[in-house]
Symmetry: C2
Subunit: 96 residues, 2 copies
């Protein structure tokens, strides 16, 4: 299933900037960045639970926020991109 | 149906910063901000087409990007929020 992850991490402190890069790195472990703080991850239910747990451990819940949108398996017709840097199709052929 | 809108607008120029605020204002006409550049809009198909057109008119497609995620009518089980500033339920009762 495709899970969209969006986040706001407070970068007013050095600690916040560190959290921001850790959150981005963690999302990259599971999927691709499609916009600045927007990631698309193809995960099963178990992977999703683990990813969510790992991200919750990284953020400061008083200042930062995470949003998860489950688009299911039938996601291609649900996503539209306009403008710069369209993402590659995460489940498409990997051309080397 | 619930449509999620995420965007990246280049703010390296004054013109870009102006586009950014226009895009945010336009999204607010149709829905609510849930994170910095993430909006949730309850729209029908016609409203969605108009919103998409109006946003496309505002951005510079060479530097900015818009992403639209159609979560349909049955969206409540698909969205999870963790951390600061949870959004109000867009279709819930308006308590005055």
């Amino acid at each position: 299933m495709l899970v969209l992850i969006t986040y706001d991490v407070s970068t007013s402190s050095k600690e916040g900037r560190r959290r921001l890069s850790q959150v981005a790195k963690k999302c990259l472990d599971y999927g691709q960045r499609v916009q600045n703080s927007v990631f698309e991850c193809m995960v099963d239910a178990t992977q999703f639970r683990r990813l969510k747990y790992e991200l919750e451990e990284l953020i400061d819940e008083t200042t930062d926020s995470l949003r998860f949108y489950n688009l299911g398996d039938n996601y291609k017709t649900k996503v539209q991109h306009v403008g710069a840097k369209p993402s590659y199709d995460i489940s498409g052929p990997l051309i080397l």
